[in-house]
Subunit: 204 residues, 2 copies
C-alpha cells in the first residue's frame, strides 16, 4: 500500500533543493540509524508554513535529533522553536546540529515527557505533533489552552502508512483515526497526502 505514487514522490523530492550540509548530514544519519525523520518534502513544507505564519513560538512534541525543528528554525524570523524528546541522547545530537547550522539561539531544548514539557509554554503559534502516535488526541486536548488564538496545529504520520483505511485496524491506528476525526470535527482541518500524511489545522 502506498499513499502517493512513488515515482511522483521521487519527482517532488528532485525539486526540493536544500543546499544545507547540516540538513544533509541529518538525513544521512536518519537513514543510517533507520531513525524516522519527516524527510525533505515535509521539512520543506514546515519551512514554508513558518515563513507564511511568522510565529513567535513553535513547540514540537517528539523532536528526535531535531530534523523537523531544524527546518522550522530555518523558517523563523525572530521566534523560537522548542524541541522535546524523551531521550537525552537525541537532544544532545540536535544541539550539535543546531550549533553547526548556526541556529542554536533559535531553539530551546527539553528532555522528558513531551506533553508535560509543552504545558510550560503559552501562546504557542505552531504546535507540531510527532511523538507517540496514540497520544496525539490526548496532546491536543491537554494543550488546547496553551495555543495562541490563531495557532496552527501540524501533525505528522496521520495516514500511518495507509493503515487508517484498512478494515482491521490495530489499537494505534484506531487512535490516529480518532484523532483525524476529532480534528476534522472541531478544527478547520486539511490533511495532505504528503509522505505519511500531514495534518494542518486552525482553531474554529
Amino acid at each position: 500500500m502506498f499513499i502517493t505514487n512513488p515515482e511522483i514522490e521521487a519527482y517532488l523530492k528532485s525539486l526540493v533543493h536544500i543546499n544545507d550540509s547540516v540538513l544533509e548530514k541529518m538525513e544521512n544519519l536518519g537513514h543510517k540509524l533507520n531513525f524516522p525523520i519527516v524527510d525533505r518534502l515535509v521539512g520543506n513544507l514546515l519551512y514554508i508554513i513558518t515563513q507564511i505564519k511568522k510565529p513567535k513560538l513553535i513547540v514540537e512534541l517528539g523532536s528526535g535529533f531535531g530534523y523537523s525543528a531544524y527546518w522550522f528554525a530555518k523558517g523563523l524570523e525572530d521566534g523560537k522553536v522548542v524541541l522535546n524528546d524523551y531521550k537525552e541522547e537525541n537532544i544532545n545530537l540536535a544541539k550539535k546540529f543546531f550549533k553547526e547550522g548556526n541556529l542554536y539561539e533559535k531553539a530551546i531544548f527539553e528532555v522528558g515527557d513531551a506533553v508535560e514539557n509543552a504545558k510550560k509554554y503559552n501562546n504557542i503559534d505552531i504546535l507540531f505533533l510527532d511523538h507517540e502516535k496514540s497520544r496525539y488526541l490526548e496532546a491536543i486536548k491537554q494543550l488546547e489552552n496553551n495555543l495562541s488564538k490563531e495557532a496552527i496545529i501540524i501533525a505528522d504520520n496521520v495516514l500511518w502508512h495507509g493503515k487508517v483505511i484498512e478494515e482491521d485496524k490495530d489499537k494505534k491506528t484506531e487512535k490516529i483515526n480518532e484523532f483525524n476525526e476529532y480534528m476534522s470535527a472541531n478544527f478547520k482541518t486539511s490533511i495532505l497526502p504528503l509522505r505519511d500524511g500531514v495534518l494542518i489545522a486552525l482553531k474554529k
Copy 2:
C-alpha cells in the same frame, strides 16, 4: 496512473465537512457539466491558507464559475478576491453563486485574458494560477512585479495527471515541467501531491 491512492483520497474527502449548500451546488454543477473544479480537498486547503495568510488581495487566473474563488472568499477577513475568466457565461454563473452565498462584496469579477486583466492589480497577496496550463510560466514572469513582497503563489494541476513523470511528454506537459523547475529554482516552493498537484511558493 494515479498521484494519490484513490482510497486514501476518498478517506481525506470524507473528513472535509463543508456545510455550505452553495458549494455543494457548485460541485454538482461541475460534475454535471464535466467542468474541471479544484474539488473540496484543494478548496479546503485554499481556505486554510487564506485564513493563515490574511491577504488583502487575491487574484485568480482562470476562475471558471467561481468554485476555488468561493473557498478563498470564505477564508477572507476583509480582503477581496478577483475572479478572471475568458468566458462571460462562467463569470455570470460565479456572480449568481457569490450572491447566493452572501460573498458578492468580497469579489471583483473580470472577463477576458486572465494575465492581461491581472496586470491591473498591484500588491497581490495570493496569486492563484488555474488558467491555461501552458501559460503558467508566462504568467508568473509577467506578474512578478504585481505581487506583494510576501506574496504566496499557488498553482493547480502542476502534476498534470502524473504526466510530468512520463518519458514522452506532450507540449503542454513540457511547459508544466518547465514551470515546476523554474519555481523550484527561483522561489521557495513546495509541491503537494493533493488531487492533481498543488504548488505553493513564496518569493526568495
